[in-house]
C-alpha cells in the first residue's frame, strides 16, 4: 500500500517530535557529568531577534564554528561539545530566565555569555548565583565590571574606555605644538559607545586638549544636522564620535554638508563595517576607528580560525564572530588546564581561579584579566589609507603609516 505524502510528513513530524522529547528529557540527568562520558553541554542565550539580532547572529555563527572546529579536532577533554542556544529576543528579563533554565533544568556543564552590556549584566548575575564561570564576548562597558562579579571575564582585547589608548599614545608622542588644541565629542547615549569616546576624552583632556563640544544623543535620533552644526561651529581640531553604525554615517555626511574639515576624525564601530565605504563613498580618507579584531592579524591561532570559518561560512569572520570564538578559546584553555567541565561549584571555581592567574592565547591576541574581569589590552587603531581600512597603530602591528593630518573630505 502506498502512503499518501501528507500522511508520511505527519508521521515523520510525530516521530521527530518524539525523538526530540526523548533527547530533551534525557538531558538533565544521565549522559553528561563528572564521569566524563557524553558530550560537554554548553548553554548560551543570544539576541537572535529584536534590537541586537544582527550582532547576535554574528556571535551565534562564531560559537557554532568554534564548536564544529573543536569536535573535528578531538573535542574537549576527549568529549564532544554540544551547544544549546536560546533566543532572548534582546530582552534583559528574558536573558536571565534563559540562563536559569540552562543551568537548572537543562543541566549544562558550562555557559558562554550573550551579546551586549545590557544583556551581559543580568546573565552574569544568574551565573554568579550558581557559581558558574562566565566568559562573555560583548560587554565592554565599564558598568559590566563594577557590579562585583567575581566569575566574569570579557573575551576581547580591551574594555570600551581603553579602545583609543594607542591613538591617545600617538597624540601624546607628538611635539606639543603639533598636537590638536580643541576637540568635539558626540556620543550615543549607550554605555559602550559613550565609553569609547569618553575614554579618549579623558586622555586628551589630561594632555590639555580643550573640549569645545560634548553632545550626547539618544539611540533613536534620526536627525544629525543640528549636532553637526554645533560641531562645525566649534571648528574643533579633532572630532570624536562615540557611535554605532547609522549614527556615525549620518553624522559624517552631515559634517561634510556643513563643510567642516577637522584635522582628525575618529568614530567607533561604523568605519570597520564593510558597508561603511559604500555609504560614505570616496570621502573616507583618514577616518580613524578602533578595532578589536582583524582577519589579517598574525596571532598564532588566527590564521587557522580565519581559514576554518571562511570555509564554513563563505566569508571571513568579523569582530562579533571573532569574539565568540575567543570566548570558546578562553573557556577551552581553562577546561584543558584544570581537566574538568561540570556544573559542580568546585570545578567552576577552579576554572575561574585558573583564568585569574593565567594568560590565554587567542585569535585577538594574548589575554589576561584584572580582578573584575577587564582584559588588560588595547584595541588596534585602523585608518582609511588610500581608500582601504588598515591598521596604523601601534607601530609594531601597523600595515600602513598613520596619517596625522586628515585630508579634506
Amino acid at each position: 500500500m502506498k502512503v499518501k505524502t501528507p500522511h508520511r510528513i505527519a508521521g515523520l513530524a510525530v516521530a521527530s517530535c518524539l525523538a526530540l522529547t526523548a533527547c530533551m528529557s534525557s538531558g538533565s540527568d544521565t549522559d553528561s557529568g563528572e564521569d566524563g562520558t557524553g558530550p560537554i553541554k554548553i548553554g548560551i542565550s543570544l539576541p537572535l531577534t529584536g534590537d541586537f539580532s544582527e550582532p547576535g547572529k554574528g556571535v551565534q555563527r562564531g560559537y557554532e564554528a568554534w564548536a564544529e572546529y573543536i569536535n573535528e579536532n578531538g573535542g574537549l577533554l576527549g568529549r564532544d561539545v554540544e551547544l544549546t542556544i536560546l533566543d532572548d529576543q534582546s530582552n534583559a528579563d528574558r536573558v536571565a530566565a534563559d540562563y536559569e533554565k540552562l543551568i537548572n533544568s537543562d543541566g549544562v556543564d558550562l555557559v558562554f555569555g550573550p551579546f551586549s552590556t545590557r544583556l551581559v549584566v543580568p546573565a552574569a548575575q544568574v551565573a554568579q548565583d550558581y557559581g558558574f564561570l562566565f566568559v562573555e564576548p560583548a560587554g565592554a562597558a565599564e558598568e559590566v565590571f563594577t557590579q562585583g562579579f567575581d566569575n566574569l571575564f570579557y573575551a576581547a582585547p580591551a574594555v570600551a574606555d581603553d579602545h583609543y589608548n594607542y591613538l591617545a599614545d600617538a597624540i601624546e608622542a607628538l611635539p606639543e605644538d603639533e598636537r590638536p588644541k580643541t576637540a568635539a565629542y558626540a556620543a550615543m547615549d549607550d554605555p559602550f559607545a559613550m565609553g569609547t569616546a569618553y575614554g579618549l576624552k579623558t586622555r586628551l583632556e589630561e594632555m590639555g586638549v580643550e573640549t569645545v563640544v560634548d553632545e550626547v544623543y539618544p539611540p533613536n535620533t534620526t536627525d544629525f544636522g543640528s549636532i553637526a552644526a554645533k560641531v562645525a561651529d566649534s571648528n574643533a581640531d579633532v572630532v570624536v564620535g562615540g557611535t554605532q553604525y547609522q549614527d556615525a554615517v549620518n553624522m559624517i555626511v552631515a559634517l561634510q554638508q556643513l563643510n567642516y574639515q577637522p584635522k582628525m576624525a575618529a568614530f567607533s564601530t561604523a568605519p570597520t563595517n564593510p558597508e561603511f565605504p559604500e555609504a560614505i563613498g570616496d570621502k573616507t580618507e583618514g577616518i580613524l576607528s578602533p578595532t578589536g579584531y582583524t582577519p589579517e592579524a598574525d596571532f598564532p591561532t588566527n590564521q587557522e580560525f580565519v581559514d576554518f570559518y571562511t570555509e564554513l561560512n563563505g566569508t571571513p569572520p568579523a569582530e562579533d564572530e571573532a569574539n565568540a570564538w575567543t570566548t570558546g578559546q578562553v573557556v577551552a584553555a581553562a577546561v584543558e588546564a584544570v581537566e574538568c567541565a561540570s556544573p559542580d561549584p568546585e570545578c567552576q571555581g577552579q576554572l575561574i581561579d585558573w583564568l585569574r592567574e593565567n594568560e590565554v592565547d587567542t585569535v585577538v591576541g594574548p589575554l589576561t584579566w584584572d580582578a573584575e574581569g577587564r582584559p588588560q589590552g588595547a584595541h588596534l587603531i585602523q585608518q582609511y589609507v588610500d581608500g582601504k581600512i588598515r591598521i596604523v597603530l601601534p607601530e609594531e602591528a601597523a600595515e600602513a603609516d598613520f596619517i596625522v593630518e586628515k585630508p579634506q573630505w
Binding site: D51, S53, E54, D189, E215, V216, Y217, P218, N220, T221, T222, D223, G225, S226, I227, A229, K230, A232, D233, Y245, Q246, V249, N250, V253, A254, Q256, Q257, L258, N259, E275, E278, A279, I280, G281, K283, W409
Partner: protein
C-alpha cells in the same frame, strides 16, 4: 550668531521634511478616522525601493518616484477597500491601530527578509555637497527633500481645493452622510483619499532616503514624532500638520543649541502633552477633531 543662522536653516529644512512625512498621516485620519501606524513603515518601504531602484539601474533615486507614487496610490486604494473598509465603523479608530500595527510588522519583516537587517544608504555624488546662503551651509540633498515637500504639499492643497475629487474628499471628511445624500460615492472617494495619503509616503520615503541611513525597524523611531505633529496640528488638517511640523522642526533645531539633543527631542512630546491639556482638538483641527 552663525550657529543660530545655521540651526535656523537646518530647522526650516527639517520642518519641511516633517511636514511631508506627516501629511499622509493626517489625511487618513481626516478622511476616515484611521490611525495609520504603518505610515512610517511605508516611508521606509519607499526608501528601500528608491535604494533598490538606484542600485539596479544606476539612475537617480528621484526617478523611482515615477514608479513608486502610482504603486503606493494603488496599494492605498486596495488596502482601504480590502482591509480598512471592513472594520466596523463603531470601533474603527481603535481597530485601525491594531490592523495597521500588524501591517507595519509585515512590512518590517518582509524588508528584513528580502534586504536583510543591514543598514542601507543611497550613495549620491551630491550627498555631501552644499551651497552657502547668508553664511549658512545648505545641503543639496536637504534642499531637494524640502523642494519635494513644498511641491507635494502644494499639489495636495490644489487637489483638495480646486478639483472635483478634492471637493468630494473634503465633503466626505466634513460630513459623510450629507456627502452621500448629494450623490458622492464616499466609499470610492475614501479609497482614493487613502491612496493619496500613501502616495505622499512614496515621496516622503524617497526624500528621507536621500539623506539618511535606513533599516527595516527604523519606522518605529519616526511614528512617534509624526503622531505628535498631527495631534499638535489638529487631526485631519493638512495645513495644520504643515505648520506644526515647521514649528516643531525649527524648535527642535534651535533648542538643540542650549539644551542638547536629548532634551531637544523631548520638545515634541512636551508640545504633545501641552496641546492635549490646553487645546485637545489641536491648534488647527477645530471642529473636526472635537467630534472624536
Amino acid at each position: 550668531m552663525s550657529l543660530f543662522v545655521q540651526s535656523l536653516v537646518l530647522g526650516v529644512l527639517l520642518g519641511g521634511l516633517y511636514a511631508l512625512l506627516a501629511a499622509g498621516l493626517t489625511l487618513y485620519f481626516g478622511v476616515m478616522r484611521v490611525v495609520m501606524i504603518a505610515h512610517s513603515a511605508f516611508l521606509i518601504l519607499a526608501a528601500y525601493l528608491a535604494w533598490w531602484f538606484t542600485n539596479e539601474t544606476g539612475l537617480d533615486p528621484l526617478l523611482s518616484l515615477v514608479l513608486t507614487v502610482p504603486l503606493f496610490f494603488g496599494m492605498g486604494v486596495v488596502m482601504q477597500r480590502s482591509l480598512i473598509s471592513r472594520l466596523r465603523p463603531a470601533t474603527l479608530t481603535m481597530m485601525s491601530v491594531l490592523l495597521t500595527f500588524s501591517i507595519a510588522l509585515v512590512i518590517e519583516g518582509t524588508l528584513g527578509f528580502v534586504f536583510s537587517g543591514t543598514q542601507r544608504r543611497i550613495r549620491l555624488d551630491y550627498g555631501g555637497s552644499s551651497i552657502e546662503i547668508a553664511g549658512a551651509n545648505v545641503a543639496v540633498v536637504k534642499l531637494i527633500a524640502f523642494g519635494l515637500a513644498v511641491v507635494s504639499l502644494a499639489a495636495l492643497f490644489l487637489i483638495m481645493k480646486k478639483t472635483q475629487f478634492g471637493q468630494a474628499l473634503r465633503a466626505t471628511i466634513q460630513h459623510p452622510e450629507a456627502a452621500r445624500l448629494i450623490g458622492i460615492n464616499t466609499e470610492r472617494v475614501a479609497g482614493y483619499g487613502f491612496g493619496l495619503g500613501l502616495a505622499t509616503a512614496a515621496i516622503g520615503g524617497t526624500a528621507l532616503a536621500l539623506d539618511s541611513t535606513f533599516y527595516p525597524s527604523l519606522h518605529w523611531h519616526w511614528i512617534g514624532p509624526l503622531m505628535a505633529i498631527i495631534v499638535v496640528g489638529g487631526l485631519g488638517s493638512i495645513p495644520g500638520a504643515a505648520i506644526a511640523a515647521m514649528v516643531l522642526g525649527m524648535g527642535q533645531a534651535l533648542l538643540q543649541i542650549p539644551l542638547g539633543t536629548t532634551w531637544a527631542q523631548t520638545f515634541f512630546y512636551i508640545a504633545l502633552f501641552a496641546t492635549l491639556m490646553v487645546r485637545p482638538q489641536g491648534f488647527f483641527g477645530g471642529r473636526l477633531a472635537q467630534r472624536f
